[in-house]
């Protein structure tokens, strides 16, 4: 059920489809899909808007192996309806996480390949509900000892419900192109004014929402090069040390976020945050290559913590 073999190794994660990412991330030929396209589990709403549906509703779920370890995987297709959470696309992810939570004979690792602008507006009520269900399912699964890892590096980023979802995961992996936020730049500008956030200033938007900033201020735990191999290596690394989800971790997370707010609350751009972090030449970060940046982030205190 997978696509062309050209999408392995150094192929771009950002450019790839959800199916190509699953194939490139997991051990070769190890993936088995649940509710594949032949089952035609599609959105019951899109046709009412005269919009084309997809046979998988834009989400690929199944199980496979990562470096020999059994894993469950859900991948959002960011090119279909912006990778949005609809009734069906969302339920497929929720079902997968709940299955891991309830069945110890299933893999106790869930990889969420997020690539989503958030809730699908055409099915907004169902989409909002499903995001809430997903966050709850992730927290319950983590409490039951399941590791839930978010991988963010697609064209639609992880916004809205996908940003919230990433924040509830055990660990977050991001690439430079992977943007993580709740409200998107245009939404912030519309509601708070251009002085608050100028969505046409792409350098500002990418340096704020982009993967480098998220990694440096602790919003992501690993930085991946934009390739199949890059995400694979980063996922294997974070899986080696997943924090237990208990009161101590929650308190550490609360402390981490409070301290972060205190430290960076007055900053009006990412570069000023990087300066406070003690980065010697913060302006140089934007042009830094992935390897050099990953090393810098690993040596930065704020970026590394035992919380989440």
């Amino acid at each position: 059920m997978m696509a062309d073999a050209a999408f392995y190794g150094q192929a771009s994660w950002f450019q790839a489809t959800a199916r190509q990412r699953v194939a490139g991330l997991l051990d070769p030929n190890s993936f088995t899909e649940f509710l594949g396209p032949s089952e035609r589990i599609r959105s019951p709403h899109l046709h009412l808007f005269d919009l084309p549906s997809a046979f998988d509703d834009g989400v690929v779920v199944g199980r496979g192996r990562l470096d020999g370890k059994d894993v469950l995987v859900a991948a959002q297709e960011g090119q279909f309806m912006g990778g949005t959470f609809g009734e069906v696309s969302g339920a497929k992810i929720v079902g997968l996480v709940r299955a891991a939570r309830d069945h110890k004979n299933l893999p106790q690792t869930v990889l969420l390949l997020l690539d989503s602008g958030g809730v699908r507006l055409q099915e907004a009520n169902a989409g909002e509900l499903v995001v809430a269900e997903l966050m709850r399912a992730i927290v319950q699964a983590r409490s039951a000892g399941v590791a839930v890892i978010a991988l963010v590096g697609g064209k639609s980023g992880a916004f809205g419900g996908a940003g919230l979802t990433a924040a509830t995961c055990s660990r977050v992996v991001v690439s430079e192109q992977g943007r993580i936020a709740v409200s998107g730049p245009e939404v912030i500008e519309t509601n708070k004014g251009v002085e608050e956030f100028d969505s046409s200033n792409k350098a500002l938007v990418w340096s704020t929402d982009g993967g480098k900033n998220r990694r440096l201020i602790g919003g992501a735990d690993a930085f991946a090069e934009d390739s199949m191999e890059g995400f694979r290596a980063a996922a294997i690394t974070v899986l080696a040390k997943v924090p237990t989800f208990d009161l101590k971790t929650m308190q550490a997370e609360q402390e981490r976020l409070s301290a972060r707010q205190e430290r960076f609350g007055a900053c009006d751009d990412a570069v000023s945050m990087w300066r406070i972090l003690g980065v010697k030449d913060p302006e140089a970060i934007r042009d830094m290559d992935s390897r050099e940046f990953a090393a810098l982030a690993s040596a930065t205190k704020e970026a590394n913590h035992d919380a989440r």
Binding site: H47, S53, F80
Partner: protein, 103 residues
């Protein structure tokens, strides 16, 4: 939404054992093609759903040409279109049948 259905008898049954394959994404200027080896002999069915109206003859020409050149006997091909151009449609059909021919 416009739905089109084409039925053909191809020159032969498509080689390979693969039961199903999917290629492409429903996105602007793109389409997804689901191929399933479910029909007897050299029969071939193509089902298309597209939000773009008025191109029935173009679809027919592309599918006729594809069936003539690639002989996808035994396949049911289902397409969700996002407004793809004919060359993109033909490319996805070729990619799909190549996937089905792999062992």
């Amino acid at each position: 939404m416009l739905t089109l259905k084409f039925r053909h008898t191809a020159k032969r049954r498509l080689a390979g054992k693969r039961v199903t394959a999917i290629i492409g994404v429903v996105a602007s200027g793109n389409l997804e093609v689901l191929l399933e080896r479910v029909l007897p002999g050299a029969e071939c069915e193509v089902d298309i759903a597209t939000p773009i109206i008025g191109y029935d003859e173009t679809w027919k020409a592309v599918i006729d040409e594809f069936v003539e050149r690639f002989a996808p006997g035994g396949l049911r091909i289902s397409i969700n279109d996002g407004g793809a151009r004919p060359d993109t449609v033909f490319l996805r059909l070729m990619q799909g049948s190549a996937l089905m021919e792999k062992v």
